[in-house]
């Protein structure tokens, strides 16, 4: 009988103790099909992939259901036979290339290991095969790189090694669990391209797990959406994107592409100006730790942030964008250049010249919100203590405790949280709520400028939209300026007035959003824009 299904998940139910984690899901993957499983965090998509590989943590049990790979029910296999399936018929690549490879083993050996295990190849044959695999996945100087260790490779290269490892025994199904989420956008584009070409060449089926709709649009043949352990919608790609029926799916699609309405360009006063800012870190080597060179994190950057407006600072990892934020906040020492802050009625103050004591009264004007909501709040302080801290330290507002309590209530309301949250501890809240608390904390001292260091990168797409909306309304209300640091191009039109693009510590291009998005001059900017997923590009340049 002609069996046209590679993998069939049938009525899968997973439990942890009494609670249901996955509630009766079913889907099928055909040969050479890229099947995208989309969902937000906690939806159960990663668990599904682990269930297929039978790598679930012990506390999670399979209550019922079947997973059939080419007529073989994987749940009926004893463990030692399942080990023959893993890595050979079904292979998996993971999200964090940094930690997914054994740090003390050569990358070549790690790929060879799977060849020796399943195909019984000897050392020299295995080595040759590994080198050819490396070439196939686009790792330059493959012969040499065999002997390298993971820490010597970049994120993108590590992911390519993982892909080579997965492909080594020519599996029929590749499970990719958010393989590009941790990568820069230009690298992401390359890796996605690679996966598609491999699918074309080998007829490989891919189960692609992600939360990023742009990537789905790029890659998928069929899409299924998961929410709280259930598949709520499943369709072929075009039908999915054009005729989604479930309200949750529609909301996901809507939030996936932030609104692209350009903001009006107003004339405004200068608030903060960076003048040829340099932040260099010394590299010390040798017998007496002489400084042999400098890491030029920020190398001559000039920017202007205007009152009530947002400047988006865009760049990939290592571009120096976060360091600029730290330099403005005087959390890191500036090597050269000026950071001029506007002073009403008098001349601008150069922040780099100030001592910490002199800086303290100015700190209430410049605040910060962070990327990781889970480490931004002290787990042992209540919400009200967290918000109160700045008010007390910088002597903002009444120092009377009751007045402060009232103000805290006010702030919580403003960021959309309930007043009785203030006696709770951070671990009781979701990522989005914690980010709001972080915003309330920054607002408490009545700042004029807020450094937003990738505040939405760690959030789900729906939550991201809400937080951006909140930041927008606060800006309007208080005439706040934002330095919005991000690597995500798609949200820029939603929040920014002006954009500066950074690469290797330098600003390569800056201008209004319209100028940069629709008429980029610099090669790097163009590359960034063209690497964005098609879904975003379609809408951005409409």
């Amino acid at each position: 009988m002609f069996e046209s299904t590679v993998l069939s998940v049938q009525n899968l139910v997973l439990n942890i103790g009494e609670n249901r984690l996955i509630d009766d899901i079913s889907f099928e993957i055909k040969p050479a099909e890229i099947f995208a499983l989309v969902g937000e965090s906690g939806s159960g998509k990663s668990l599904t992939s682990l269930a297929i590989m039978r790598l679930l943590p012990e506390v999670i049990t399979v209550d019922s259901g079947n997973i059939v790979l080419h007529q073989q029910n994987l749940f009926e296999l004893p463990e030692y036979q399942m080990q023959k399936v893993r890595g050979k018929q079904v292979a998996m690549i993971f999200q964090e290339p940094m930690t997914s490879l054994n740090p003390v083993m050569k990358v070549g050996d790690q790929v060879a290991e799977v060849l020796k295990l399943h195909l019984g190849l000897r050392n020299s044959t295995a080595r040759d095969k590994v080198v050819s695999l490396f070439e196939e996945v686009g790792i330059p100087q493959a012969e040499e790189r065999y002997d390298w260790y993971p820490h010597q490779l970049s994120g993108g290269q590590k992911q390519r090694v993982m892909i080579a490892m997965a492909l080594a025994c020519e599996p029929e199904l590749l499970i990719a669990d958010e393989p590009t989420t941790a990568l820069d956008v230009t690298i992401q584009a390359q890796v996605l391209e690679l996966l598609k070409s491999i699918r074309d060449k080998r007829g490989l089926s891919i189960l692609f797990i992600t939360h990023d709709m742009g990537v789905v649009y790029e890659m998928a043949d069929t899409v299924a959406v998961m929410k709280q352990g259930k598949i709520i919608e499943q369709a072929e790609k075009q039908k999915f994107f054009n005729e989604a029926s479930h309200p949750y799916t529609q909301k996901l699609l809507q939030d996936a592409v932030p609104k692209q309405i350009l903001k009006p360009q107003l004339d405004s006063t200068k608030l903060l100006e960076l003048n040829d800012l340099k932040v260099h870190f010394p590299i010390k080597k040798g017998l007496f730790q002489r400084t042999v060179g400098m890491v030029k994190a920020v190398d001559g950057v000039s920017l202007i942030i205007e009152k009530g407006q947002t400047l988006a600072l865009v760049g990939e990892s290592g571009s120096g964008k976060s360091t600029i934020g730290q330099a403005i906040l005087k959390l890191v020492n500036t090597t050269d250049g000026k950071v001029s802050y506007a002073n009403p009625d008098s001349e601008a103050i150069n922040l780099t010249d100030l001592s910490e004591r002199q800086m303290k009264p100015l700190r209430k004007k410049i605040q910060v919100i962070f990327q990781d909501p889970f480490s931004a709040l002290n787990p042992r302080m209540t919400v009200s203590e967290i918000i109160r801290e700045g008010m007390v330290s910088l002597k903002v507002g009444s120092q009377n405790r009751q007045d402060q309590d009232n103000r805290i209530d006010e702030l919580l309301n403003q960021v959309g949280l309930e007043v009785d949250f203030k006696h709770r501890y951070p671990h009781e809240f979701s990522g989005g709520q914690r980010q709001r608390i972080g915003i309330a904390r920054a607002l408490a001292v009545e700042p004029e400028l807020i450094i937003c260091d990738e505040p939405t990168s760690a959030l789900d797409v729906t939550v991201r939209a809400q937080v951006l909306e909140l930041l927008e309304s606060l800006q309007k209300q208080y005439q706040l300026s934002y330095l919005f640091i991000t690597h995500d191009l798609s949200i820029i039109p939603a929040i920014a007035h002006k954009v500066a693009v950074m690469q290797n510590g330098k600003v390569v291009e800056q201008g209004t959003v319209e100028q940069i998005m629709h008429n980029p001059q610099h090669k790097y900017t163009q590359k960034l824009l063209s690497s964005a997923p098609e879904l975003i590009r379609k809408v951005m340049f409409a």
Binding site: M53, L55, E58, Y80, Q83, K84, V85, R86, G87, K88, A91, M92, F94, E96, T99, S100, L101, N102, P103, V104, M105, E113, V114, L117, H118, Y149, H151, Q152, M162, M165, G286, L287, F288
Partner: protein, 325 residues
């Protein structure tokens, strides 16, 4: 790499100087040579002349830090501090109270110490790691819980008990091995069996727990998940991946101990009559022979510092992240 070693050696110098200062402070400042003489000669009948003679005999008749009687640079160098420090650094330990040369005593006695300490160390290390890996294989099971309970009990029992009980049981009652003593060569092996066995057994409790926690920490990491996804069996994952990575934190704790093996275990040697450095030290402490105690303190420090340097070097050798930076 070479520069790195040189740098680590240079760091050792201030530490040795620091140890020297502390040793000097302990032995000469709090308890002045006058006091020492009085204690040695007996408090009652000492005349200043006898004290002076005693001090001259040992070269202690110089002032501590500053010698007004000399001139120029000698004012600093012709002092007790400099004199004693130089002696220490050149490993001239002088004579013990019984008149023997301490340096030669040390050289003679370090081999018996090693004869006990080295086998205990190696066998203990291998046993503990093997058992810990096995336990990690069975983690979460009843066997795991029972073993951990037994491990806590083993480490809660005083080492002295193991020695005494061991001697009573294996020597006195069952006559399997001699109760104490030492001999060179093959005949001497029978004297080593009980101390080594007890040494290994007493250390199993704490050892398994420590290694187990290291391996457990590794086994929850991402690269182990990748290894399993490749189809490796749990045993191959443990021995092929977890062990390699677990060795790195193990190195820090283990290598530093190796040079100090020469010092010998004070208790073991004393109970088993092994003529090693450990019993040498204990005897010196009990007879208040400051000369020997001073020498052992300095020697111990030097060996420990060598251990630290060895640890750093082994790290650079075994951890590719350090080797290639």
């Amino acid at each position: 790499m070479f520069a790195y070693i040189i740098r680590r050696l240079l760091f050792a110098v201030p530490i040795l100087i620091g140890v020297n200062v502390i040793t000097f402070a302990l032995f000469f400042m709090v308890n002045t040579p006058d006091d020492m003489a009085r204690a040695q000669l007996g408090a009652k009948q000492t005349t200043p002349a006898m004290i002076q003679a005693w001090k001259e005999g040992r070269g202690y008749d110089k002032p501590l830090f500053y010698n007004q009687n000399s001139s120029g640079l000698n004012q600093i160098s012709d002092t007790l501090f400099v004199q004693e420090s130089l002696k220490l650094f050149s490993f001239d330990f002088g004579q013990s109270d019984s008149g023997r040369q301490i340096s030669s005593d040390i050289y003679e006695r370090m081999w018996p110490s090693l004869a006990i300490a080295l086998p205990t160390f190696i066998i203990g290390l291998v046993t503990n790691i093997a058992l810990a890996l096995l336990i990690v294989l069975f983690r979460g099971s009843t066997l795991d819980r029972v073993t951990m309970g037994v491990a806590v009990a083993i480490m809660s029992i005083s080492g002295l008990f193991y020695i005494i009980a061991g001697q009573v049981l294996f020597s006195k009652t069952w006559h399997w091995v001699p109760i104490s003593g030492y001999a060179e060569g093959i005949d001497g092996l029978k004297f080593l069996i009980l101390p080594v066995f007890i040494g290994v057994f007493a250390g199993i409790g704490a050892g398994i727990r420590w290694y187990r926690s290291i391996f457990l920490e590794e086994i929850n990491k991402d690269y182990v998940r990748t290894a399993r996804a490749k189809g490796l069996s749990e045993i191959k994952v443990l021995f092929g991946h977890v062990l390699q990575n677990g060795l790195l934190p193990i190195l820090t704790g283990v290598v530093v101990v190796i040079p100090t093996l020469f010092m010998g275990s004070l208790i073991m040697e004393s109970f088993f009559g092994i003529p090693g450095l450990g019993s040498y030290t204990i005897d010196a402490i009990q007879s208040q022979d400051f000369g020997i105690v001073k020498a052992m303190v300095f020697l111990g420090s030097v060996l420990y510092i060598i251990g630290l340097i060895l640890t750093d070097i082994s790290y650079t050798y075994f951890d590719p992240r350090v080797k290639l930076s």
